[in-house]
Symmetry: D2
Subunit: 313 residues, 4 copies
């Protein structure tokens, strides 16, 4: 079966939502924090829930903000504050932390450059605190280091190899990985932030990591912050196609489409679509025309949030 | 009617090719210069031909090279030589030229950065030849200047305004405009070069210029060199959709689709598809995952060609 | 005579300041706006004053802010406000303006990239106001366009040629040129902003423009905003050398330096130094090790100021 | 005593060369490979030699090519070949290697960007050879990976921490570190390449590393390839000052400088100079005005050499 790809847990949840059914082992809580901003907290609590959702147990918090793709500094500052609170709530507490921020993705591809651009704008403190003492920036500043590991075509190495090596050497308490994601719906592009304590998994991100960056693998907590900047080309074709088939079923009964077709289920439709998809489609993605401005703005929003969160964690 | 967009004259020609019909006023000549490289010369000779093709009278030469998206320096050097010959054949002859190369597009968006990256790699001579004499680089070097006008969101100005102003001030004999194009077929991405003496027209290029850069407008010959790096999102949806409708018509007769549907013509199908397309789709484009490497390689190929052509024009 | 180069009128003034002499035709007014920030307003009022100062009649306003090279957002925002007020005070008033900001310098050389980086961060409005009406951003927003003309090695053209052409085409009311400057004193690097209504003159800026960008040349007012990011290599050698000669004259009388040497005047000392300077020195400049962080910060400060000034000019 | 800084072993050797004295434990061999290109091979063989030279035992090979700062592709290709041979001669032989290239320095500061720019242009093979087998690029291609570790202000980590971590994880056989260097003489800027098997030492490079990247520290051979792109500001002041003092001693005897001054030795002169140097000078460096073009050209030359060397090592 053709698996529609999305890196957003919220979108994975949506296919079960039509009947508003509850999913066993998955808790969902939505908070409308303003007219335009909704924060959804999803907890996958059981292995059963994990199987249903197709992703590991843990917290998935999503900020949906429909104006996030617009240029409005005050609005972005508000988003940064919400995001900072979420980062803190998912971080280990009780002591001064040493955090390594990993800016995943390819700096040279605009839609994949969110992670590197966030890393560029962080308040980096580890080297100064090591040299001049932990209080050089006050009592509430954590140690912050950052790495932009690049992509395999540039380094010949998996991001996970580079990060694992650096962790062994510098021993931080927390990894915060930032990455551009793939959404299922074009409406979410540049308008949704997902924060999860389950880390980064193979096949996620625009650049499609092959190895996980998770607490299980790395031995320390891994927060992942992601924003969808692309949709797989196959996905939008699928979506429109499904719409077409539904439209035909609904509006063209007089054209004699009989019952057997109308009941083509989703799986069969996908198979049909898949057959039609050219192989090229798998190496293509869909992104917005003004992606440069969007990524620049969003990188400020995320960097501000991380800076804020790590000042007083 | 929903107009499928392509910046390639060759693709515009293709919809008439099925029956291999000749189009009045349009001459077509294909040369297989090697196993893998084909050069097609199309001349739109009459106003009639121009109307049929939806583009102005003039020469449209296309290099199709299926391995052009691979990393092979010798191959790219060969393409550069073919391209250099075509540039010369379409340029005014008989005297030393002064050429302004215009690198159109947005440097910050990878798929739109071909023009600026080509401009970065040119052998710029005008300032030296003005200061030290026309022969400072030998008898066969033309005067070369270059401008990267940027996009409206960066400058507040049309590229055409900037170029027109510079032309009035520096009075070159020839404009060579380089731009990333939109193709109709994903198979052409990064594998086709179009050179035309008809300049740049509204709606062409990834960034969608609104005003023409043509000899008519600028008063001097304008060569346009373009490579398709994106496909409009609407186009790939359309294409797959058309495939789906055809497949359904062909393989599901037993499902009772009656004749009226099977005979839905292209226009009606487009209308159907268009209805289903979300408005977002118009601001989205499809591009390849490794577009950074492709654009880097192709910018070398085009810059080498221009450098070569202008050394001995 | 070896002319010590500085782009700062304030430094040119300083050589006459020792005796606190007044210079005829040059008015000077210093305002200490805070402990750490001083604004000096110099008006060269007469041709005589212009000759003495070696620069044209007009206003030269200098913000000296000793912490300007540090990372302190609130401080930089304060500087931006002062700068915005000065920009307004030197701009034509009484109507909505159309301003072209020119980001001079070479984006590829960190110490020369101030102008391009400022241009990247402007609120560009001209294209929107032309399309959607002058009030699309409210009653108080001026039309803003921007150009990064690049340097001769990249374009083969003088910045002035490009700007003149664009002015003829787009007809703004005001040019604001931003450029990195050369100072005489290393203490001023990244700590001083000069705003003048006399424009840009040959030999000023890091990249050494050959042609003026002045109201006289361009036909509309030209504000120039500059920050010194480099010192000519010859200058620091000169300065230390002068210190050495003075130290020797003062502290080594017992070594028998006779009166004739001690009275070597400045001109003779320069001649001596000049003889010793290798020719390479003329193509070298001195800059700070962390120039990347400085230019990034300062470009935000200047861009904020221009955005602010042009919102309510 | 004020220590004149140079990263070039050749320049450190030069202060002993006036009398053409031999230095015990240091072997020197000069080869004029063409009119314009000289290769000097220096071997520091003993601890004594190491103490005299102020750098560790090992091989230091220097290519001096006076036209290396010019634009001449054929010339640069020749330099690349010489460099490739030297890289091979200093690399472990006898088996297919896995090499990690480390692009040291700050991508954002033009004069310090050599390492990162070289890394950008390498033929990266490790990931492909791991996935598709060691022979996917033929029998003679080594495994190549690369990392651009960034600088402490960006990462909060020493380059050495990042590299050590990656080595532990990916276990290559060889490190090739590329870095921009500081020379003593402005004449060497962009015209000299040093290759050594002694690695990178604290205080070397433009960015001044604090921790070594050496075989002793890392456990595998470390080749360091460097090109001087800057001179410390203190150095050029010192040099001209020394010239001045000598000139005065020589040409102004009639001015009564007595013997005691003329015999001021180098150490005393440095002390005098040092007193006069402003503290700012220590954070300043001198570089060429067209450093962007130089670094771009040189990065191609070095990357070509590494690619060549690792194809058939």
């Amino acid at each position: 079966m053709y698996e529609i790809r999305t890196d957003l847990a919220l979108e994975a949840r949506e296919k079960y939502e039509k009947g508003n059914v509850e999913i066993k082992g998955v808790k969902l809580e939505k908070t409308q924090v303003s007219d335009d901003i909704r924060i959804t907290s999803m907890v996958i609590e059981t292995e059963n829930g994990a199987r249903t959702m197709g992703r590991p147990k843990g917290n998935y918090i999503t900020i949906e903000a429909m104006s996030m793709d617009d240029e409005d500094e005050a609005y972005h500052r508000m988003i940064s504050k919400h995001l900072a609170h979420i980062i803190r709530s998912l971080s280990p507490g009780g002591k001064r932390l040493s955090a390594l921020v990993v800016g995943l993705g390819n700096r040279e591809v605009t839609s994949d450059s969110l992670g590197p651009k966030v890393a560029d704008q962080l308040f980096i403190t580890r080297h100064m605190m090591r040299e001049f003492g932990d209080d050089v920036f006050g009592k509430h500043q954590n140690r912050v280091s950052a790495i932009v590991p690049g992509v395999m075509a540039q380094t010949g190495m998996e991001s996970s190899e580079i990060v694992r090596g650096i962790l062994a050497e510098t021993k931080p308490d927390l990894v915060i990985a930032v990455d551009a994601l793939a959404a299922r719906s074009t409406k979410r592009l540049n308008r949704t932030i997902q924060i999860t304590d389950t880390g980064i998994h193979p096949g996620s991100g625009v650049g499609n990591h092959r190895h996980p960056l998770t607490e299980e693998e790395l031995g320390i907590p891994v927060l992942a912050i992601g924003i969808p900047t692309v949709v797989d080309a196959a996905t939008i074709v699928n979506d429109t196609m499904t719409g077409l088939l539904e439209a035909m079923a609904a509006h063209m009964p007089y054209q004699g489409m009989d019952a057997s077709y109308r009941t083509l289920d989703e799986v069969e439709r996908y198979d049909l679509v898949r057959e039609l998809l050219t192989p090229q489609l798998n190496t293509l993605y869909v992104t917005a025309k003004d992606i440069d401005a969007s990524v620049n703005r969003l990188s400020v929003t995320v960097a501000d949030a991380i800076n804020l969160a790590l000042q007083e964690l």
